[in-house]
Symmetry: C2
Subunit: 422 residues, 2 copies
Amino acid sequence: MIKVGIIGVGTVGSSVVRILQKNKDIITARAGKEIVPLIGVVKNLNKERNLDIKLSDNIDDILDDESIDIVVELMGGVDEAFSVVKKALAKGKSVVTANKAMLAYHRYELQQSSKKLPIGFEASVAGGIPIIKALREGLSANHIISIKGIMNGTCNYMLTKMMSEGAEFDEILQEAKDLGYAEADPSFDIGGFDAAHKLLILASIAYGIDAKPEDILIEGIEDINSEDIFFANEFGYSIKLLTIAKKIGESVELRVHPTLINKNEMIAKVDGVMNGVSVVGDCVGETMYYGPGAGGDATASAVIADIIDIAREGNNSPMLGFKKALEHGKLKLKNADEISTKYYVRVEVEDKIGVLSQISNILGEQNISINSFLQKQSKNAKFATLLFSTHQCFEKDIQKALKKISKCEFVKQFPAMIRIEE
Amino acid sequence: MIKVGIIGVGTVGSSVVRILQKNKDIITARAGKEIVPLIGVVKNLNKERNLDIKLSDNIDDILDDESIDIVVELMGGVDEAFSVVKKALAKGKSVVTANKAMLAYHRYELQQSSKKLPIGFEASVAGGIPIIKALREGLSANHIISIKGIMNGTCNYMLTKMMSEGAEFDEILQEAKDLGYAEADPSFDIGGFDAAHKLLILASIAYGIDAKPEDILIEGIEDINSEDIFFANEFGYSIKLLTIAKKIGESVELRVHPTLINKNEMIAKVDGVMNGVSVVGDCVGETMYYGPGAGGDATASAVIADIIDIAREGNNSPMLGFKKALEHGKLKLKNADEISTKYYVRVEVEDKIGVLSQISNILGEQNISINSFLQKQSKNAKFATLLFSTHQCFEKDIQKALKKISKCEFVKQFPAMIRIEE
C-alpha cells in the first residue's frame, strides 16, 4: 500500500482524492499496489469540501507522518512550496508537484536535493497532456530542434474567440472571466508568464538549459486588436500565444509571445481552452501533443500518473532528463535581440501623402523589406492603419525601426508588432 | 556501457545504428551510459550498407555473445521472431522490438516470459509517436473511454489524396506506390491488418484485453470511391481508416474500418502519411498524439528511446501496463454485430419509380431511419446512385438490411457501407 499526503486541497487536490477513490480498481491493477490518500492539508478547515479524507491545517501532519510515502504539493507559490518540498525529500518521501512557478525557479536545486528520490511534475506543464514524459523519455534519442507550445488555455480561448468573432480584447476578456476561463486578475495568464514557466521546464528537459523567467523574452496578448485579427485572417495566419524553444547551432532561443502562424500547421489547429505542444526532433521529425491544459480532473490525471509511476517503482529517469552533462558543454541561451524572424507590424498614421515612403525608408535603413501590405481606413477618417509583414530580419533591427517610426510626427502611437513563425 | 545487438538491419535497423553513432553525445548524457551498437545480423552479407558496425548472418552471434545487454529485434514475421526474442530473454538479455505482427499474436506470452527483464515496443505502434508510453504511463489514472487512431500512413495518404483531389482509388494507389508510400503488394496496409495489429497492442494496455486479429472486425479501404468522397465532403465529414477501441460498460469494442468523422474533430485533421491517436480518458478528457507513423529515422527514434529507458534502468512499468488483474474481472470483447453506430450507405439502382420506397421499407423493417440522403445520376443513365446516412442502429440490423437490399432486382451490386463515428 502506498500512502499519499496532499498539501493543498483545492480544485486539483480534490480531484486527486476523488479519482484515487473512484478509480481505485484500475489504479491498483496498474500500480500493483493500493494507493491511499491519507491526509489533506488545507488553510481553512471550516470550508465545506465533501471529501472522504482526513483534513488538517498543519503541514507537519504530513511531513512528520512516517507512514506517508508520497507528498503531493499543490499549495502553489514559489519559496514556501520549495521549502516544504525540500523538507519532504529530506524525510525520505517522494514528491509529486504541479507547481510550475516553483519549478521555473528551483527545478535544478530540486533535482540536486532529490538524490535518488523520485520527483514527479507531469502536471506542471500542459495539465493532462503527458508532455514531460514524451519529451524526457519518448523523444530521448533526438536533438530537439524546436518546441512550439500553446500552453495557456486562457489566452488560447481568447485568441480563438477573437479570430472567429472579430471581437475586441476587452469584450472577450470579460466573457472569459464570466465563464471561469480567466482569473479575476488575469495578468499572469495574459501577460505570458504562466506559459513562460512551462516553457522553462520543457527547455531544461530538451536542452539542459537552466534559465529563469527574467532571462527570456516574454510578451503577452494584451495589445492584440481586431485589425491584427483581420490581417491574420486575410493572409492565412492564426494568432496564438506561442512558447518557442529553438536550437540553432550551440545556442537556444527561448521566448513567449503572440505569434502569427500558418493556419495549416497542426499547432494552429489547437483552439479554445485546449493546449498543444509541437516538438521537432532531428530523428523523429514533428510530433504533436494535444489535450486539456487545465481543470481539476485533467490535472489530477497527470498528478496520479506520477504517483502510479512511483508506486510501480516505475521510473528512474533523471528528473530533468539528463543523467550527466553533455560532453561538449552546455548549450548557450541566445539574447533576445539576436532573434531573427519575420514580423508583422501595425501602425496608425495620419492619412497623408509621403507617409508610406518615409516608413519604407526607415525599414530599408535597417535592411528590412516588406513582404505583404494592407492599408485600412481608421475610425477617425483623418487616420489610416497600415498593416504589413516583413521578410526575415533581426529583432534588434526591427526594434530600432519601430522606435524610429514611432518618432515620426504622423504616427499616432508606438507601432504594434507580432512575430511570425514559419 | 550498454551493448546492443540488432537483428535485421534494413531501413529501421540502419537508422538505429546511424543515430546511436551520430547522436552519441546527447544519448550518453540522457542515458548516463554510452550505448554501442555492436553487431548487426543481416540475411545477405554481400549487400552494400555503408554502416560502421560489425555484420553477421548468424543470429547466434548476438544471442551467444554474453557482452550484449539488449537485443533489438527488427527481423519481422511472427513465429520466428517470437522464438528469437524468447531465446534472448532466456539468456538474460533485454529486448526492444518494433514487430507489431509478433506482438499482435504473442504479447501476453512475451510478458510472461520476460520475468523482470524489460521489453520495449514503443516503435511497434505509430512509429515515432510515444503512444505506448502515453497510454501505459501518462494516462494510467484513467479508465480509457475510447481510442481512435489513424495508424496506417499508406491508407491515410491515399484517403487524404482522394478527399482533396476527388480521384479514384486505383489511380491514387499507383501514385502511392510510385512515391514509396505503398508496398508493391499493399494488401496488408489497405486491408486494415497493419492498423489492426497496432490497435490490439493499444487495447491490451488500455483494457488488459487479450484479443487476436481474427477476433475483431477488420475492413480495408479498397471499396471507397469518389461518390463516397463526394458525400463526405457534402456533409462535412472526412473519411479515415480508423482503429477504434471503446469501453461500453464492462465490454470493449475493437474494430478497424474506414470511418466517416466530422471534419472539425482533431483526429480528422491528421492528413497525408502522418499518424494520430486520440485517447479519451474518464479524468483527462481527450488527448491526441500526432506524428510520423513510419520511416527509418522516426521509427528508430522510438527504438532508441526504449534502449535509453533500459540503460537508465528507467522503466519498471509492466510491459502491458497492468501489474495485476482487475479485481472485478476482465473486460469482455464485444461481438461485432452488437456494435451500434450510424452508417453511410451507397447503392446503385435502376432509375425507376418505387425504388426509394422499397429501400426505405427494408430499412424501416430493421428499425433503421434515414438521416441524410443524396441521389446522383450514374454514368450509365439508366442507373442512379443513392447515398444516405442513417441514425444510430445496430450492426446486425444494417447488415440484414443491406443483404435484403442487395437482393432487390433493381439493385446492381451489393451496397457499400461506411460506419460513421460521432
